[in-house]
């Protein structure tokens, strides 16, 4: 319930409770009048929900049964990294050394307790490998003039467990190939600059994963006016269609989604749309909040905050697959999503609630009906184009 709805609901009931005689206007009329103003502030994510497990599918119990959140990064011969929470701390937020130290402490503490979370860092890293118990991904961009050998030397100096390489243009392919030959850890490729093209050539290089920054992409011209839902959906489809043509699909590259995902609910929705690991920036935010506190340089207490927040998030994350009837977080699939918005249905190919079909499918069925009843006369290519134009392409 949002505040204006609350106000109207309360007013409607209180009026009745006070007088006991019929009112002159109903609540829904009032809500309808003000709704257009309210809707502006709502994100499309809010229209997407998951469907829980009830009679036709028993739920798991997060308090009494094990719910698996583990995910492994690394395909083929590359070194495997296992995360116990499918989150990797990543965000385009500036951090100073105090924030980094507190994150380091928090992640170490989590790792000691068997809750390994990854982190992606750019720039200099002041933690040495021997003191680090969590996997660190070093982000390098092809924009720098460095030779791949140099890039790798930099990584080895910091003993990064994995690499995140920012893909720029076709010349990046060669750099990735070189990196792949020399580096035995997982390599993730950030494709945000070229999305949605170049997927196949990157995957052909045996990279271990694709990183997609939805925030960056929705700001680009190609996805102008589109929502992150569409980006994630396209990314998953691109991965799937790549593996469709391959025989062995048991060892697939993972999809990392970063960007506007910062609440547990959204993590679950993004995972349902097809993400394997989610780039999570809220931890950075909490680490950064020390600047404004009264004890700004208390690294230990801020690390404690980050740690507690992550434990809370993990508990929440365990609850969601359980309520959907899964014992593994990564079993959440697009079929668990429903939406109450036509726009979300079109962008994410998500079924509408109640009818369990996407908007476009419903339109397609209706067109078929019109054709078979001879109410309309269309050629096959016309039908295809009409569906495309209704789908907003």
């Amino acid at each position: 319930m949002n505040d204006s709805d609350k106000f109207m609901i309360r007013r409607a009931v209180l009026e009745l409770a006070k007088t006991g005689i019929p009112r002159s206007a109903s609540m829904d009329d009032n809500i309808r009048k003000t709704r257009d103003i309210n809707l502006r502030a709502i994100n499309l994510w809010d229209y997407v929900t998951l469907i829980g497990a009830q009679l036709s599918r028993p739920a798991y119990d997060p308090y009494r049964e094990t719910i698996n959140l583990d995910i492994s990064i690394g395909i083929g011969k590359s070194r495997k990294i296992v995360l116990n929470i499918p989150l990797i701390i990543y965000g385009s937020i500036d951090m100073d050394s105090y924030s980094l130290d507190s994150l380091h402490l928090a992640l170490n503490r989590l790792a000691e307790q068997g809750q390994v979370v990854g982190i992606i860092l750019e720039g200099e890293i002041n933690t040495k490998k021997d003191k680090r118990k969590y996997p660190l991904f070093k982000k390098i961009s092809s924009i720098s003039e460095n030779h791949p050998g140099d890039l790798l030397g930099e990584c080895n100096e910091f003993c990064a467990d994995g690499l995140v390489f920012e893909y720029k243009d076709d010349s990046s392919v060669d750099i990735i190939r070189d990196l792949r030959e020399q580096f035995d850890g997982p390599i993730l490729v950030d494709v945000s600059n070229v999305f949605p093209s170049s997927f196949n050539s990157i995957l052909d290089l045996k990279t271990d994963g694709i990183l997609v920054d939805t925030e960056k992409i929705t700001k680009s011209s190609r996805y102008n006016g589109k929502h992150a839902i569409k980006v994630i959906c396209d990314a998953r489809n691109a991965l799937n269609s790549y593996y469709k043509s391959k025989d062995e699909s048991s060892d697939n590259a993972i999809l990392v989604i970063a960007g506007d995902v910062n609440s547990t609910g959204k993590i679950a929705k993004v995972a349902a749309l097809g993400a394997d690991i989610i780039g999570y920036s809220t931890s950075i935010l909490i680490a950064n909040s020390y600047i404004y506190s009264e004890k700004p340089y208390d690294v230990i207490s801020i690390a404690e905050s980050v740690y507690r927040h992550m434990i809370g998030t993990k508990e929440e994350l365990r609850g969601i697959p359980a309520a959907l009837g899964y014992s593994d977080f990564h079993n959440i699939s697009p079929s668990d999503l429903r939406t109450s918005s036509i726009d979300a249905s079109l962008q994410g190919n998500i079924p509408l609630e109640g009818i369990d079909k996407t908007y476009l499918d419903t339109i397609g069925e209706l067109i078929d009906e019109f054709l078979s009843n001879k109410e309309l006369n269309m050629t096959y290519s016309e039908v295809r184009d009409v569906l495309k134009s209704i789908g907003g392409e």
């Binding site: 019929p22 002159s24 809500i31 929900t49 937020i93 609850g319 918005s341 036509i342």
Partner: protein, 499 residues
């Protein structure tokens, strides 16, 4: 607000960090993160989820009035009967109100609020308005179960004394000893007891003395998650009523441990039927998710009614994020539910199966919309809380309630609450009669889909309703398709001309 200064400080700091980060953050949910930072536990919240589109405002009842324009018109003789049971049960609950109090247990609600509900329903019953009350998961109160002479006949004398003793202690805790015992110890309204996965009840009277039994598989606020009463709310007396340790959070299992699938539900219902000698009607309540499948199973399982609880359905406490992301809205789940019932009864002719709807229903117009879309009855929870003075701050999971309903720091004025409830029920009932009467119907159950129009495409599509300007969804699509073809062909022609 129960947040401490530390939490609010933390929130301020994180907010500042978020504002300077140039990155997208959902600031509405910031408090959830702050609470996780504060205690590393899953944050809970109360009442229902926030649905950006719950469809009710985009559906209109055409030509109806909730208040007649001419003063001398009265629709008092409109039939508003709701009958529960009779499909397999020998007893039938017949009420003249198609809406009722949905499950709110003692524990999630404090004693004064429960007493206010009890007294109000008794008062209404004396005036001839017979409304059903559901006990909720946490067991029933002594006067609800042993409210009449004969209901004490199947308990031993010793047990009866301990029940009375417990009642005394309950009243003493809330300084309500001055309450009229005779008035309290009578129940004139039909009671539905909830058979939930927590099994918080101690003797068979809970099932035998109730007028109907509701098997709760799930609820809309926390679908796939068991009932939940946070530690601070489990006071000694609540714990005694439920038979659990006090001040420890009560987490019910997320599923009935003996109901894993449809055949288990059949077995469970038959067991309850034997216990109650096939007398009590049995309802099965599910949260809205795979509604068609769920209703289909319930139809096969010897139940008398199915009850669905939508996404916005309220609760005392639910994990915040879980409440906000799992479930579908009430209206779109009502349509497949009704379809499942119709599909089933296309084989057999009888239609004693009732569909009860919960979630985001607060006033008469929404009740009428639900009935027109295919519901038989409607459960209301938050509406009754509102009429007792709820301020919708959604802190029901704590022991602090500004209205004194779910927490004990404010005192609830029972008398005023009773009046509020009575007025709310009477007002809603006469509004319902007005709606049916102004449409020229003899009974509220005669409302049909044709009485409704949708104001947007989605509602029209999901509910199969006509749009405001008399266009069906199909026509709308046809127009859309025709336009799309035209613009496509125009584009192609332009391209050809350019060449």
């Amino acid at each position: 607000m129960p947040y401490s200064k530390d939490v609010l400080d933390l929130k301020r700091h994180i907010l500042k960090a978020a504002e300077t980060s140039r990155s997208y953050f959902d600031l509405n949910k910031l408090i959830v993160d702050v609470r996780k930072v504060n205690d590393s536990e899953v944050p809970y919240s109360g009442l229902g989820a926030r649905s950006p589109n719950d469809y009710f405002p985009s559906i209109k009842i055409i030509g109806s009035e909730i208040k007649p324009k001419e003063n001398d018109v009265s629709y008092n003789d409109i039939d508003t009967t709701f009958i529960l049971g009779g499909r397999y049960s020998s007893n039938v609950i017949s009420t003249n109100v198609p809406f009722f109090v949905s499950g709110m247990s003692y524990g999630s609600l404090k004693l004064p609020a429960k007493i206010a509900l009890h007294l109000a329903l008794n008062k209404l019953a004396k005036e001839g308005i017979n409304m059903i009350m559901n006990t909720g998961e946490g067991g029933a109160l002594p006067w609800e179960l042993y409210g009449s002479e004969e209901s004490c006949s199947n308990v031993s004398k010793k047990r009866h004394e301990s029940i009375l003793d417990y009642a005394d202690r309950l009243l003493k805790e809330h300084n309500l000893e001055s309450i009229d015992r005779d008035l309290l110890f009578s129940r004139l309204y039909p009671l539905v007891t909830q058979y939930a996965s927590g099994r918080f009840w101690k003797d068979p009277s809970y099932l035998l003395n109730a007028d109907a039994i509701e098997i709760k598989i799930g609820q809309g606020a926390k679908i796939g998650h068991g009932g939940l009463l946070p530690g601070p709310k489990v006071t000694d007396l609540v714990a005694e009523n439920r038979g659990i340790p006090s001040y420890k959070a009560a987490h019910s299992p997320s599923r009935h441990l003996d109901i894993l699938g449809p055949e288990d539900l059949v077995a469970k219902i038959l067991e309850l039927r034997e216990i109650t000698d096939w007398k009590s009607p049995i309802i099965v309540k599910v949260g809205c998710s795979h509604v068609y499948d769920d209703i289909e199973i319930i139809l096969k399982s010897y139940a008398d009614a199915a009850s669905i609880d939508g996404f916005v359905g309220g609760t005392g406490a639910a994990p915040w994020e879980l409440r906000d992301i799992i479930g579908i809205n009430t209206v779109p789940s009502l349509i497949p539910s009704r379809k499942a019932i119709e599909d089933y009864y296309s084989i057999t002719a009888k239609d004693e199966f009732k569909l009860i709807v919960h979630g985001s229903v607060w006033d008469s117009e929404r009740i009428a919309k639900c009935i027109a879309l295919g519901a038989n009855g409607v459960g209301i929870g938050t509406g009754f809380l509102l009429s007792m003075g709820c301020t919708l701050v959604q802190d029901c999971y704590t022991n602090v309630c500004p209205a004194g309903l779910t927490g004990s720091y404010e005192k609830l004025d029972i008398e005023q609450s009773v009046t509020g409830i009575v007025n709310y029920v009477k007002g809603t009932l006469s509004e319902l009669k007005n709606i049916a009467g102004s449409l020229g119907r003899k009974s509220i159950n005669d409302l049909r889909k044709d009485d409704l129009v949708a104001t947007d495409e989605l509602s029209s599509m999901l509910c199969g309703l006509m749009l405001e300007d008399g266009v069906t969804f199909k026509d709308l699509v046809k127009e859309k398709v025709k336009k799309a073809i035209d613009s496509r062909n125009r584009r192609i022609n332009e391209r050809l001309e350019n060449k």
